[in-house]
């Protein structure tokens, strides 16, 4: 009962925020609404019993990545997009495409996922311990690889941005 309500509320918030992301012309507004999406997704993760992922969502996404976005937006002091009429190609090709995507996807989901397995809060939860175990036993190699990737990204970012700063 409760979990259903919470899901609906935060799903609603997420969708509204996402729509806001798309329709807002100003990057900061989009960024804020994206943060909203992430926050509500974090709650949904908690509902799904993914405590660690929820926390990571908050720390990594909302706390670090989006801060970076906001920082850059502020740094460039990017103004709002000057409203241009949507191109005919986008209108007559993109829009139907999206609708089709949405419809078919949901149809497929409905078709593939058998009903009757409800998501109930607390039935299953994987805390940091479980995630850590899996991460450092089965997924050790990917973990290391990803860490190397991060290092590369740091260096790349520094190299790219240095020109910008000084």
């Amino acid at each position: 009962m409760w979990s259903a309500i919470i899901f609906l509320v935060f799903a609603f918030v997420a969708v509204v925020a996402a729509i806001n992301l798309v329709v807002q012309t100003h990057p900061i507004s989009s960024a804020l609404s994206l943060i909203g999406v992430m926050g509500s997704l974090a709650v949904l993760y908690l509902l799904l019993g993914a405590e660690f992922i929820a926390a990571a969502q908050l720390v990594v996404y909302a706390g670090a990545i989006m801060v970076l976005f906001v920082f850059v937006i502020m740094l460039l002091n990017a103004g709002a997009e000057n409203a241009k009429p949507i191109g005919s190609r986008a209108k007559y090709f993109g829009l139907p495409l999206l609708i089709a995507f949405l419809g078919i996807m949901s149809f497929v989901v409905q078709a593939v996922i058998p009903g009757g397995n409800n998501v109930v809060f607390g039935e299953y939860h994987a805390g940091p311990r479980d995630v850590g175990k899996a991460l450092f036993t089965d997924y050790l190699l990917p973990f290391e690889v990803v860490s190397v990737l991060i290092l590369i990204a740091i260096i790349g970012a520094i190299v790219l941005a240095r020109k910008e700063i000084d």
């Binding site: 996402a18 999206l98 996922i113 970012a157």
Partner: protein, 102 residues
């Protein structure tokens, strides 16, 4: 009714993904497009977590974790690139950077 069907989560993520695509297609600001990509990633993460709930396996979480890390790296590099682009062309309009050299 106890809880909600799993498919709701999936459809939610579908909707978010579609919105991400829409943002990518209809926004002209590089940063906003970038954020739309992040939105899509989030949508995918949701499916991962939902399925790992259904299958009672932690692997979905691991995948989500990796997606986050990669997204972080991507954000760092991507934003650096955006900074450089802005420095070179004083604009964030994607349509105006369509040419490789100028």
């Amino acid at each position: 009714m106890n809880g909600v069907p799993l498919s709701w989560y999936l459809i939610l993520s579908t909707v978010l993904f579609a919105l991400g695509i829409a943002g990518f297609l209809y926004r002209r600001n590089i940063i906003t497009m970038f954020m739309s990509i992040e939105l899509m990633l989030n949508a995918v993460n949701l499916t991962f977590v939902a399925f790992s709930y259904k299958l009672r396996q932690v692997d979905g979480h691991i995948f989500t974790f990796f997606v986050m890390v990669v997204a972080a790296a991507e954000a760092a590099v991507g934003l650096a690139i955006i900074l450089t682009v802005f420095k070179n062309r004083q604009t964030l309009e994607i349509d105006e950077v369509s040419s490789m050299k100028y």
